[in-house]
Point group: C2
Chain length 273, copies 2
């Protein structure tokens, strides 16, 4: 899905909502708890179909699928197809990144063997570890930039001699890379000052913002900090949507919480055509 | 495999050799080129059996298996078993790393669903992204520290205000983490000065050193730069061993090149009991 198609979705739905899929056995409805490929597909399909009117992107967390072994891996290509069938951006949350030859294989896995639109990446090894992903036209590479977890202070928040933190340097230097228009950036929702500062440094870039809802960030604050006239954001929520009410009917609770978050988006976004 | 068992292997075989497994279709013997799980297992098994007298560790590169989709994933648990059957350290070269909850799932995938001894990790997100792996006793977490690829200058070689490069800071700060004795570090073979400097900062740590052979590093230089009286190194070679002579019999060429590299190790190591 290219940038125009994604922005069309944001405009039509008045939403920047990205819904994460973390299949957690003890939280999933009982009918899906049997580890099978069909259950993982069924669980994901219900979420995708239910949130499609309210969301613009779906982000399966590959870690949770990998933990199931090959039954998880068998489910992923089908889930990518279902996301595409609903005209949503499919993001493989995989945090991959290796030397060029190996990254080329990861890119092949997620962009050819499977047909995801986007993948999250760890840019620690530098440009040549990301380039193989950027060689795919109309595919997105989403770089870890400034996260909200406690360990972000260990390395991403470290100040460099050249005058900015490592996280900021990842953003500003990668904006100079070939095909930089295919980059997005992961920026945590609980750091509005970082969101504002990074937005100044990359006025046009799309930020994927996790940490809204269960993790404490607010949709209005995120949009006020880094929203743009074209949207400029994918605001991710996972547990606050797919596990919002474990006592209620699964599909109903998913729908209500996705709709609520879309409304929070619509209230705060100012889009100009 | 714990540290004593690994060091016993190093002493007995007079070898620090780690053999990488990158199943590259156009380079593999024709009989394995059909993408199937059985072929990937057969290819890996031949390598493992052949190099076992000369090597102490085997490192499947997960990227190459992932590119095959679920047939690759079906092969990996069996390959981990075969490595264990030969009393070699099994390293999943996966470069994983995510927030705690997600890393916990990756750790489950590689240490429970599969039974690898060690995994390579990207520490960019800091301590809590690595901790779930360190919670497994007798399992190893191998952190990207200073690599030899062109992009290492982009971030890992950047100088921090606090007085050392990011790569060095990864090493020195992680040595203070709980269970730091279960950490190893990836340090490129083509940077002997870095190897020496990092060895001074972590006299007891084990370094996994890729880049020997096809990529230009030499075994003798690596051992002279960072060898210790207990070994202290796993020196990885992949293409120079498994694809050393495409015109010769596969098993013979693998054996000859592994034996040659073991002899280079034996000539240069000085181990004390």
């Amino acid at each position: 899905m290219n940038r125009n198609a994604l922005e069309d979705q944001i405009f039509e739905k008045k939403s920047m909502l990205c819904v994460g899929i973390d299949p957690i056995q003890e939280l999933m409805p009982a009918r899906y708890q049997n580890y099978s490929t069909d259950s993982l597909i069924g669980f994901s399909k219900t979420i995708i179909e239910t949130v499609a009117p309210f969301a613009v992107a779906i982000k399966p967390n590959i870690a949770y699928f990998e933990a199931f072994g090959s039954s998880g891996w068998d489910a992923l290509p089908r889930i990518a197809e279902i996301i595409k069938d609903h005209n949503l951006l499919s993001i493989a949350d995989a945090k991959r990144g290796d030397i060029g030859n190996s990254s080329k294989q990861y890119a092949k896995a997620f962009f050819e063997t499977m047909d995801f639109d986007a993948i999250t990446l760890s840019p620690l090894m530098g440009y040549d570890s990301i380039a193989p992903f950027l060689n795919y036209k109309d595919k997105w590479s989403i770089l870890l930039t400034m996260t909200s977890n406690p360990g972000s202070k260990d390395f991403l928040e470290q100040e460099l001699v050249q005058g900015q933190s490592l996280g900021h340097h990842i953003l500003t230097s990668s904006q100079q890379w070939p095909n930089a228009e295919q980059l997005m950036y992961v920026v945590g929702a609980t750091k509005p000052d970082e969101l504002k500062a990074l937005r100044k440094k990359a006025p046009e870039a799309i930020f994927l913002v996790p940490g809204v809802g269960a993790q404490g960030g607010s949709v209005s604050e995120v949009i006020q900090s880094a929203g743009t006239s074209r949207g400029g954001l994918l605001i991710n929520s996972t547990r606050s949507i797919i596990y919002s009410d474990l006592d209620a009917d699964f599909q109903t609770s998913v729908q209500l919480s996705a709709e609520k978050m879309q409304k929070e988006c619509a209230l705060n976004i100012t889009l100009t055509n």
